[in-house]
Symmetry: C2
């Protein structure tokens, strides 16, 4: 089962020679979720060979342009490519209005349904769930309404130990055992713990951009396998970070440690930084399993 | 005096591996005018080393996204770079509303004045003039309201022949002679034709994208030095061109010929074309001084 995030853009508000604005794509078992969509995200998607049409859901954290100016172009391109499959967009109040006014003036009627869901900037909410995965949005503390997102695999079913069950046990009974329930079968009790082995681990990925350092996040990101957290500044610019509602590399690492995550991915670097070794060193001084988000980087959430 | 256009994007609605959406930048004596602004135009401006802050005026032909989705990002970047100098935008009804709603939701108050002028999709109008240049917008025939633009240098003054005028002639009298007026000076009549030589030629550039083939354009583009005209399709797709209100390479050349322009620049190619030799050959069969717009191409309007 694939559970992998690819970085499409690692910069903050301004492009640099090699950094694009925030965007990431999450592949969960060949379902694709796009998280934020800075200008030119469609160029990055093409560069890293992701099919636009495989994207099912798009999540927008907030309405600063470096997180969503590429969305209207992507939506339009999906239309031009003949998409008919529904596309769901989760984002803040105002996003629907911004997209619709542009579609209206261009007299474009999309060939596919665009389903908007407004995120709640005030409290954590489950915005999507199915049998495999649940997705929550949760408040970040930024200059305008902003949310993070957490993608959590549902608990997986237990694995059958073939030699410990009757060869003719029907599927419905097998499913009950996989769920961990003991069952009766031909007058016998079959014990789930004996007939099955422990389920595989479920994994989760949390995304936090943009936000001031905020320990209230911990309840929502706690024990994520991987946490993406913005690290716009180095810690010697703490004052600037606080003033602009951003985080330093050191603070991101502190949060990762306190939230007991397995790995930390930092990004959203200010364009003033020409190299990122200092961000990495600063974060690693507090939390060793840190990676620097760079364009094209893939991180396996499930390993 | 520089009068030069640089192509930033030559594609139509869809990006290709090497083609960006429509945008051009016109340098008139170190004043910079941006014409159309597809997504990622700011990346192209950086690539070809144009200073964002030197751009004084932006002209948007119409509200199909491949002609303006890059504008909100460019405006925002100018703000982040500390611009204080006024920026004028000429474009269709709706553009102001689209930009303002996005600035409002991001709670951005620009550090510089943004001056909107609405273009008239129904008749040609002078939208700007000063002592050097006049700019008109004129209707194109597309699926939604759309205008072209013509940039015309004002008639230049005549050049003084030093040996044919009194050495002590004051500036005001010199100016009259430069304008071609005879003057009286110390009881004598000075004849402009004798005291001055012919002025240098004035040049002009016309921009037409997107439009169906329309001979009514000729009155506005007539005798341009260079004409940019869209050539989305080859002529074997004439039916498709007409249906979508676009032009074929052959038709663009026909129009250039009928409008008696000096040079033709074609662009806005459908993404179905992987090479452009056929566009060039087709246009040249009717109008030999044709160039293919490609990213980074510079054309000297004044030579």
């Amino acid at each position: 089962l694939t559970f992998e995030v690819t970085i499409l853009g690692s910069s903050s508000a301004r492009f640099t020679a090699d950094r694009f604005q925030t965007s990431q794509i999450l592949n969960h078992n060949e379902r694709y979720f796009l998280i934020d969509c800075g200008e030119a995200t469609q160029i990055q998607l093409s560069k890293y060979r992701f099919s636009f049409q495989k994207i099912d859901k798009i999540f927008i954290s907030h309405l600063h342009g470096d997180h969503y100016f590429g969305l209207i172009g992507l939506i339009t391109t999906m239309h031009l490519l003949g998409r008919t499959k529904e596309l769901s967009i989760y984002g803040p109040k105002g996003l629907k209005e911004i997209l619709e006014i542009q579609l209206n003036y261009s007299e474009t009627t999309l060939n596919y349904p665009l389903i908007f869901s407004e995120t709640n900037p005030d409290k954590a909410e489950t915005i999507y769930e199915d049998d495999k995965l649940s997705i929550i949005s949760f408040p970040l503390k930024h200059r305008i309404p902003c949310t993070g997102f957490r993608f959590t695999e549902n608990p997986k079913v237990r694995n059958i130990i073939k030699e410990n069950i009757p060869f003719n046990l029907p599927p419905l009974q097998i499913l009950e055992l996989k769920k961990g329930n003991n069952i009766s079968w031909e007058g016998e009790t079959l014990i789930a713990d004996f007939c099955t082995s422990k389920p595989k681990k479920s994994f989760s990925y949390s995304f936090c951009s943009d936000t001031i350092f905020d320990e209230n996040l911990i309840e929502n990101i706690s024990s994520s396998d991987w946490l993406y957290h913005e690290a716009t500044f180095l810690h010697n610019m703490l004052e600037r970070a606080q003033k602009t509602y951003h985080t330093t590399a050191l603070q991101a690492a502190q949060l990762a440690k306190n939230a007991d995550v397995r790995g930390l991915l930092i990004g959203h670097y200010s364009s003033r930084y020409h190299h990122l070794e200092d961000h990495l060193a600063e974060a690693k001084s507090v939390f060793s399993n840190t990676l620097i988000a760079t364009e094209g980087l893939k991180v396996d959430i499930s390993s």
